[in-house]
């Protein structure tokens, strides 16, 4: 029978990371809402579309790439489509598939959301790390993500 104990540093690393991410995300969501802007999850989808030269991506791709809410992509795209931020396009090679394509209105929304996202993320997270810590944190988290595949 093993003890299954964690050290104080381990508890601090895990609980602290969760709390820090949550606090930053909550502040970003609050800042967006205060300006009448939609949730961060919308930005998260739109940016993945905008990364592509054609401004579009398969729905199945989106679910894998997105940072938040791996949830039902179909209905998330439904909501963006209702707002005119994306359109759906049939897929030529694979008739099962569908593309989501970012619209000019979608690109315009991103330009309004970015400053809010950027400023809040700096104030609530990035500004509290120096350059070396930022680089180390990135390396370390990349390692963990890579191990979880």
């Amino acid at each position: 029978m093993t003890a299954k104990k964690l050290t104080d540093a381990e508890i601090g690393a895990w609980a602290g990371t969760i709390r820090a991410v949550r606090a930053a995300l909550e502040n970003v969501e609050a800042a967006l809402k205060a300006r009448g802007l939609p949730p961060l999850a919308w930005y998260d989808v739109l940016i993945e579309l905008r990364r592509e030269p054609a401004g579009r991506r398969r729905l199945s791709d989106i679910g894998e790439r997105v940072l938040l809410s791996r949830s039902n992509v179909t209905r998330l795209i439904d909501r963006l489509e209702t707002q005119g931020l994306v359109t759906r396009e049939a897929c030529a090679d694979d008739a099962r598939g569908a593309f989501a394509v970012i619209t000019p209105k979608g690109r315009s929304l991103m330009r309004r959301m970015w400053p809010v996202y950027h400023d809040t993320l700096r104030a609530c997270f990035l500004d509290h790390l120096d350059e070396r810590e930022t680089a180390r944190l990135a390396e370390l988290m990349r390692r963990i993500v890579a191990a979880n595949r």
Copy 2:
């Protein structure tokens, strides 16, 4: 007009941290579910009750302390109460308030959940950091959390 750019390291630190936390949490939830155990949020509440000598805490306290889902505590406690994991108790000093009290069944559930939580957390997160990295990560995240108050 400012550029509002982030460095690659900053993007990596932020996106990487979110992805790492999400991956670890998803793996923990999956491991619990695979063994027929309830979601981590339940453990998260129970442990806050068990920390107290009397095994109880005011509902308003719980919302502030819990790691995940700061959401509607009333209904979360409702679910735990339905399963016999906690009971509600009136508050003597303040008739507005209510306590949630962990039951023996609640303590027993925690003992079954902990090994799964522990092992998965190690495998998906903690084992990929050495001792120095763990300590630094804890310190750094503590700093960010403290700044967000």
